[in-house]
Every structure is written in structure tokens, then in C-alpha cells.
């Protein structure tokens, strides 16, 4: 038996290492570095109903052990994605997770309908993007809106539905429970933290959109705590992320309660990081004589 395989409540992954939405494009670029079939799953760049241009530059700024981005959901729209990107991704033996975003709750339901016929493995409902004017994160901070929105998506699809949570809330457990009740099969967390940098020479915010989302190793300790909390609050599985750089980080998330993990920002630093992380997890299981990943999921709660 493969000790690495894991199950996000119906979304079966051959191993727990995935890549986070927005940090891996549609897979084409990094397919030049390693075989994408190595990955448990790929969450694609966030999509919207119609094509989006994204925000003006500067869109990124580095901070200590982190970066802030305000890309603003630049994407070709869901229809173009289905036509042009799915055939490419399907060449690989990995799960396709489709990250969807909207200005209105109804946009999500529409996208779910459009994705009905598409050959994908999961829909990741992003109610946590801080980089768009309307919608996005707002939906993820109100349990009632989150519930309704997710409910409509679930009603409109036969696919596995996962909900991506924002860390910018007082109590993430409340939101997690709301989306669980609404029928989400899993939750993914965390998205980025609202943040900013100021240029002391121009005396203005560095980013054109002033604020953006902080990601990278800097946020790991907070993300890990949130995964730990959500694990105690819901019974659906967790896809954990936020600052993961290597197997040790990934294992921390698994022990905190994640059934699978995603690497994001660190892929920019080391494109081979997902592969190395997987190898490291494998070695850890062997060393600890663990037969199945499930034995250590949430173990830090014991």
C-alpha cells in the first residue's frame, strides 16, 4: 500500500503535496522543471467568469521572509481555461483543483455550472482573495454570506467542493463550520494576510493598489495555528498551506491536522521545492515507521 496517499473527503490524492493557487500558473511553466505527475494535485490560478486584466504594477514587494502581492486575479476567464488549459493539465497524473472567484455570490454558482461538464477533480471556492475591489475576501469574513455562497455552489455541481478560507478573521472556526454546514467537502487554508509596505523615499505605498496579500515563510506560524484550530472545529478534511518551504514545515501542518498541504510562494524561490518536500515526507514516514499518512494527521492534538 502507498503510505502517502490521502483523501480529502472524496478527493483522493496519491500524495499530500499540492501547489497553491496563483503560484503555479496553469502548470505550464513549472512543467519545464519537473514532471507534474509527481504532485498530489495542482490548484490553478484563480479564475473568474470573464477574463480579468488584473491590477497595474507594482504588484509585488518583498518583505522579511515574505512577499506581498496584489495581482488582482489576472486570468483568462473560466471558459478559456476549460478550452485551453485542461487538456494540457490532463496529460499528467495529478488532481486538477479549480480555484474560482467572483464579485457577486451568484458568480460562483454560475462558474460551478460552467464547470459541470469540465474534466476536473475539485472546485476550490476562493472566498478569501484580498486583491479585488468587490467580493473576494468579504465573503469569507461573514459566516452567513459564506454559507449561502457555498450552498449555491454545492447545489450547482457534481464536483468535489473545497472552500478556501481567509486568515483575516477574528474566529476562523465560525467560518469553517458555516461552510461545512453548507456542504463543503473540505477546506483549504490559509490564503494571504492583508498587508502593506511603504516606500519611505516616495512616501507612498509601494503597491499600486496600496495593500496586498502577505505570503511566504513569515506567515507559517499563524497559518499553522489556524489549521490547528480548524481541525478541532470541523470534521471535514483540511488542505493546509501558508509559508511551507520543506518537508519539515509540511509535516508540522499534517500534525496540526492537514490531510494534504500546498506549497506556494516558496516555489518561486526553489522550483524543486514540491518534489523535495514529497521526498522528505516519504523519508519521515519511513524513519518514524508510519504505514499510512492518516496515522499522523492531527497527531499534535493528542
Amino acid at each position: 500500500m502507498n503510505p502517502l496517499k490521502t483523501d480529502l473527503n472524496g478527493l483522493k490524492l496519491k500524495n499530500p503535496v499540492t501547489v497553491a493557487s496563483g503560484t503555479f500558473g496553469f502548470g505550464r511553466e513549472y512543467s519545464e522543471f519537473f514532471d507534474l505527475s509527481t504532485l498530489g494535485g495542482i490548484s490553478v490560478k484563480g479564475l473568474t467568469l470573464k477574463e480579468r486584466l488584473g491590477n497595474p504594477a507594482p504588484r509585488i514587494v518583498e518583505t522579511r521572509s515574505g512577499m506581498i502581492n496584489s495581482v488582482g486575479l489576472q486570468n483568462p476567464g473560466v471558459e478559456n481555461f476549460i478550452r485551453e488549459e485542461i487538456p494540457f493539465l490532463r496529460q499528467f497524473d495529478t488532481r486538477i483543483i479549480v480555484n474560482i472567484n467572483g464579485d457577486e455570490p451568484e458568480d460562483y454558482a454560475r462558474m460551478a455550472q460552467i464547470l459541470q461538464r469540465a474534466d476536473i477533480d475539485s472546485i476550490e471556492v476562493n472566498i478569501s482573495c484580498p486583491n479585488v475591489k468587490s467580493g473576494g475576501m468579504l465573503f469569507g469574513t461573514d459566516p452567513e454570506i459564506a454559507y449561502q455562497l457555498v450552498r449555491r455552489v454545492v447545489e450547482n455541481t457534481r464536483h468535489h467542493v473545497m472552500v478556501k478560507l481567509t486568515p483575516n478573521v477574528t474566529d476562523i472556526k465560525v467560518i469553517a463550520r458555516a461552510v461545512e454546514e453548507a456542504g463543503a467537502r473540505a477546506v483549504s487554508l490559509v490564503n494571504t494576510f492583508n498587508a502593506m509596505a511603504i516606500d519611505i523615499h516616495t512616501q507612498k505605498p509601494v503597491l499600486f493598489r496600496k495593500t496586498g496579500g502577505l505570503s511566504g515563510p513569515a506567515i507559517k506560524p499563524i497559518a499553522l495555528r489556524l489549521v490547528y484550530e480548524v481541525y478541532e472545529a470541523v470534521s471535514i478534511p483540511i488542505l493546509g498551506m501558508g509559508g511551507i518551504t520543506n518537508a519539515e514545515d509540511a509535516i508540522e501542518f499534517i500534525l496540526a491536522g492537514a490531510s494534504a498541504v500546498a506549497l506556494g510562494t516558496y516555489i518561486f524561490v526553489d522550483p524543486m521545492a514540491p518534489v523535495k518536500t514529497l521526498e522528505g515526507i516519504e523519508a519521515y514516514l519511513k524513519e518514524k515507521d508510519v504505514r499510512s499518512l492518516s496515522e499522523i494527521i492531527g497527531k499534535a492534538h493528542e
Binding site: 522543471f33 486584466l53 504594477a57 504588484r59 509585488i60 518583498e62
Partner: protein, 256 residues
């Protein structure tokens, strides 16, 4: 583009702020002038993100040269790398200068500003190797000019603004205004590139400019390095400096 390693062969100060670094790659390395690499600065991840640096020129089949200006934490550390230091880079990246289809005997212009002259060295070398006879080079520096000896060209002029307060673009108009350039290649500060675009706006000749934008991945995945590009008459879209550039057709770029 690949993840590659090499070793520093030498690292020499060019002036107080700029250094020239040779890196011997572990395998033969192909690139075209104007392309760049994305360098990992520290295994301890401070800075976290790689730093994009143009390939200045080829030294031999496996050895390439960089010209780097110390700006902050990343470039400062690179300047301290001693001979033999291991270098981890992704490259070659981006689209370099397009040097196809020009007349070998008609004049070509290369315009550089400060550290923007880095990729132009390799460009001038390549043009000379390919037999272009009339390559004019005009470089401007705020102070402490460098690189004169490295440019293979027909005519070379360098301006030291600390002694001669004139921009390259002004010098161009007043001194080389009469020359019928068939193409222009420029790299330097935004203000300079914008002015170059204006100067050649009405002409028919292609102006290629090399842009900079903050980068995270360098390979087209993060969408961080957006540049506004004309799209039809009244619209725009964003292209990626890292894969669609860094060299763009000036007439397409929207400066703001």
C-alpha cells in the same frame, strides 16, 4: 529555462557601486543578448526571492558575465561572493533583443543608461560578430562611467553627467540627429526609455526597449511583473516582463 548551477570565477569592482562577476556554469549555456537569469542570493533566504540580473555577455562556452549595481540586500551580498562561490540560477529567461532582418551596412543605435548598459555589452558583441558594420553606442552615467573598453562598435560615446550635464537623449538629438538609424535598442531608467519612445514615435523604425519590473518567479507563473501593453486603439492588457519581455517594442508599451 532551467535550474542551473555554476561557480564564481571572478568578482571585480567596476566602480564604487558596480561589480563585474564571472560565473562558470556547470554545463554549456546558451542565451541571446537581452535575456536574463534569476539568481538565488542566499541559502538562508534573506532575501527570500531570487534577483533578476541580465546576462551582460558571454566569456566562453560555459562562462557568462554579469554587471551588477549594489542596490540593496541582494546585490550587496552578491558583491561579496568570492571566487568559487556556488551560484544557483534559473535561466536563460525572457525574450532578448530581436536582431534579425536588419541591413548590415545601415546604422543601428544602442542607447544605455547606467546599469542598463549591462545587457547592451553582449548585444554590441553579438552585432559585431554577425557583421553589422555601423553600430553606434551612446551610454550615459550619472557619474563614474564604465564599460568603454567592452563595446564592440563603430562609434562609441559616453556621457558622464557629473561633468557634462546632458541626458543621452538630448545628446542624441543634438549630435546624432541626422543619422538614419534603421533600429534602436535601449536599456536604462524608465524616464530615459519613455523619452526614447517619444523621440522615435513618428518614425517607422523599430525601437526595442528593455524593461524592469519587480519579479517573484521570473518564469511567468506569478503574474507579478506586469507591464501595460497597448491592445487595440483604446484598450490595454498586461504582459509579463519575465517571459514576454524584458525587451518590448517601445510603440506597444504604455508608460504612466
Amino acid at each position: 529555462m532551467r535550474l542551473l548551477t555554476g561557480r564564481v570565477t571572478e568578482n571585480a569592482a567596476v566602480n564604487a557601486q558596480v561589480f563585474r562577476m564571472g560565473v562558470r556554469m556547470d554545463e554549456p549555456f546558451e542565451f541571446s543578448p537581452g535575456q536574463f537569469v534569476n539568481i538565488r542570493v542566499s541559502e538562508y533566504d534573506v532575501p527570500l526571492l531570487r534577483r533578476p540580473i541580465s546576462i551582460s555577455r558571454r566569456i566562453d562556452e560555459t562562462t557568462i558575465e554579469f554587471l551588477v549595481k549594489v542596490e540593496g540586500i541582494g546585490t550587496r551580498q552578491m558583491g561579496q561572493w568570492s571566487q568559487g562561490t556556488r551560484v544557483d540560477l534559473i535561466g536563460p529567461l525572457g525574450r532578448g533583443f530581436d536582431i534579425e532582418g536588419f541591413d548590415k551596412k545601415a546604422p543601428l543605435l544602442i542607447l544605455g543608461g547606467g546599469i542598463g548598459t549591462a545587457p547592451l555589452k553582449g548585444l554590441a558583441q553579438e552585432l559585431a560578430d554577425r557583421g553589422y558594420e555601423r553600430v553606434y553606442v551612446l551610454n550615459g552615467f550619472k557619474e563614474d562611467p564604465y564599460g568603454k573598453e567592452d563595446f564592440k562598435c563603430f562609434e562609441y560615446r559616453v556621457i558622464d553627467e557629473s561633468k557634462e550635464p546632458v541626458y543621452v537623449t538630448d545628446y542624441l538629438l543634438s549630435h546624432w540627429g541626422g543619422i538614419a538609424f534603421q533600429g534602436v535598442f535601449a536599456c536604462g531608467p524608465m524616464a530615459m526609455l519613455r523619452r526614447v519612445k517619444e523621440i522615435f514615435r513618428e518614425g517607422e523604425i523599430p525601437v526595442q526597449i528593455s524593461l524592469e519590473e519587480k519579479m517573484a518567479c521570473g518564469v511567468g507563473a506569478c503574474l507579478g511583473c506586469a507591464v501595460k501593453i497597448k491592445c487595440g486603439n483604446f484598450q490595454h492588457r498586461y504582459q509579463k516582463v519575465c517571459v514576454d519581455g524584458p525587451v518590448f517594442d517601445a510603440s506597444e508599451v504604455i508608460f504612466e
